[in-house]
Amino acid sequence: MTMRTWIPAALAACFFVAARAWADEPTPGQSLYNKHCLSCHQADGGGVPRMQPAIAGGTWVQGDARALALFVMSGGFDSAARKESNVDNVMPPFRQLTDEDLAAILTYIRAKFGNGASPVTVPDIAEARTSLP
């Protein structure tokens, strides 16, 4: 291969790789979900039988944004979820995350697992935070 043909070929390859990376790049909400939530609730939001509940299609995920934020920051055990999923584990609280990170995570799970429920905003999180004990 001559230099003249090699350079455009390399450029094309770089462009292809960059385009793929761009297409596969997770959103900030997805990255944060992968870091903090995925090991329990799994990539498909399906949870783990007998251990952690499914969140996909769940009432919390598609319900009131501030109630969801308060639950995620408080942690705990939702008896309704237990009835549905017969799960064992208690959710740890995630109040240590910033308002921005929580808004991104909850917006992601509502879009992906919440039947198109509305995004969660930073002011939603801030308001929910005022109700924490």
Binding site: Q42, G46, V48, P49, M51, V90, P92, P93
Partner: protein, 413 residues
């Protein structure tokens, strides 16, 4: 003379045909060593937990729909009589003498097994009850020795005894108060009735959740494969990443001795370093080791999060000689390896000699999980849980996804 011989051969052929099992053409998708075949015995009693097989071939199964007794009446290997019985919705099932011992989250019970009866008609007796009702690691799996001594796995209702369970950065309680009542093996007289946990004695401690627990008659000793701790990455992200969490914390196989301490929650066996290290909740910095000799190293350090749910020392005669006295372990499969690929979901064979590992483990039965879309355990086709040996030496395996029961037989030479 010749006719008599011919008649004998024809008769033997008919007998063999009448009693021959019908093997699944593709072993039901299971991948087995050469010469082994799998047959689906049953599915339909809801998700299953453990099982045992009586000397006459009757199968006793615990699961979502409670206890069931299964019988094959025409010799094709498939259960054609299925009888639910009793009122225990639990996990473990063990035949001991003329009794069927079963357990749930809070106790161990027994039913009389009468000759000719499939489902026990006798009343349930309580052997031990009153364990606190917990959510995490509550299944009371158990083992019985030849004298009827009952060893109960009392799992810890905690991941790593943090002040705040499963919360990022929370340190471990020291000493861990959970160990007073949990995270160990408690021993009882399994022939006495109506005992409470107070009648038992802590036999061994530091076992987070020894689900796969089994008495080894040949060694006259107790063994267990223990579920190791979760989430070193999300709880201590400055020390560990997701790959570390998916690969470091061993599922430890131990001989469980009287007075033994197996290191939970203060330590875990790091399979990457090949040594026991302090847990990050207890001053661990990735390499710091506990006091030398305080906790034993495992006989085998199995990969992280594979979830050992049953252990069986092979006492049958129909498998090749190398399997006799060795250990089969049912790995339920991981959830806590995500986002790394999930693993486990298989039955492993560990060669043993004199109570020690005798060479590396081998995957015995694989292919349970299938494609497992989205790397999610929820989408596994099957997940092996329980193991038992039938009177002909076949290995029985139960599944927690659909409640399938397989019989794995050897027909090779």
């Amino acid at each position: 003379m010749r006719n008599a011989w011919l008649a004998k051969v024809v008769s033997a052929c008919f007998t063999a045909m009448a009693g021959s099992v019908v093997l699944a053409a593709d072993n039901d998708g299971l991948v087995l060593p050469e010469g082994f075949s799998a047959l689906v015995v049953h599915e339909g009693q809801g998700t299953a937990r453990h099982l045992d097989v009586a000397a006459n071939g009757d199968i006793y199964l615990a699961g979502e729909k409670g206890l069931s007794a299964l019988r094959d009446t025409n010799g094709d290997g498939k259960a054609d009589v299925v009888t639910p019985f009793g009122d225990v919705q639990g996990t473990e099932v063990r035949i001991f003498g003329n009794w069927l011992y079963v357990s749930d989250d809070v106790g161990v019970y027994r039913y009389p097994l009468k000759k000719g009866e499939l489902a026990p008609s006798g009343k349930r007796e309580t052997v031990v009850s009153g364990f606190p009702k917990e959510r995490q690691h509550a299944d009371k799996t158990f083992a019985l020795d030849a004298k009827g001594t009952l060893y109960i796995n009392v799992g810890a209702p905690s991941n790593s005894c943090q002040e705040k369970d499963r919360q990022e950065g929370s340190l471990g309680m020291n000493p861990c108060p959970i160990l007073e009542k949990y995270g160990g093996v408690w021993v009882f007289d399994g022939t006495k009735l109506n005992q409470t946990p107070a009648n038992g004695r802590r036999f061994a401690t530091g076992t987070r959740n020894a689900v796969a627990i089994e008495w080894n008659a040949a060694q006259n000793s107790l063994f267990a494969v223990i579920h190791g701790r979760d989430s070193i990455d999300t709880l201590f992200p400055r020390l560990y990443n997701a790959e570390d969490n998916a690969t470091r914390q061993a599922e430890e196989f131990h001989e469980i001795v009287d007075g033994g301490n197996y290191g939970w929650p203060y330590t875990f066996f790091d399979t990457k370093l090949g040594k026991r290290v302090l847990a990050p909740e207890y001053g661990g910095d990735k390499t710091k080791e506990p006091e030398a000799g305080k906790y034993p190293n495992p006989l085998v350090a199995f990969p992280a999060h594979w979830a050992p749910n049953d252990l069986l020392f092979y006492s049958g005669k129909s498998f090749p000689a190398k399997y006799r006295g060795g250990a089969f372990i049912a790995f339920h499969g991981s959830w806590n390896r995500a986002p790394e690929p999930q693993a486990g979901y298989k039955v492993v064979f560990q060669p043993m000699k004199g109570g020690k590992a005798n060479g590396p483990y081998e995957v015995f039965a694989d292919g349970f999980a299938g494609e497992m879309k989205d790397n999610s355990p929820n989408n596994a086709r099957y997940r092996p849980v329980g193991l038992a040996v039938g009177p002909d030496g076949s290995l029985f395996v139960s599944d927690s996804q659909k409640g399938r029961v397989w019989r794995i037989s050897y027909a090779g030479k």
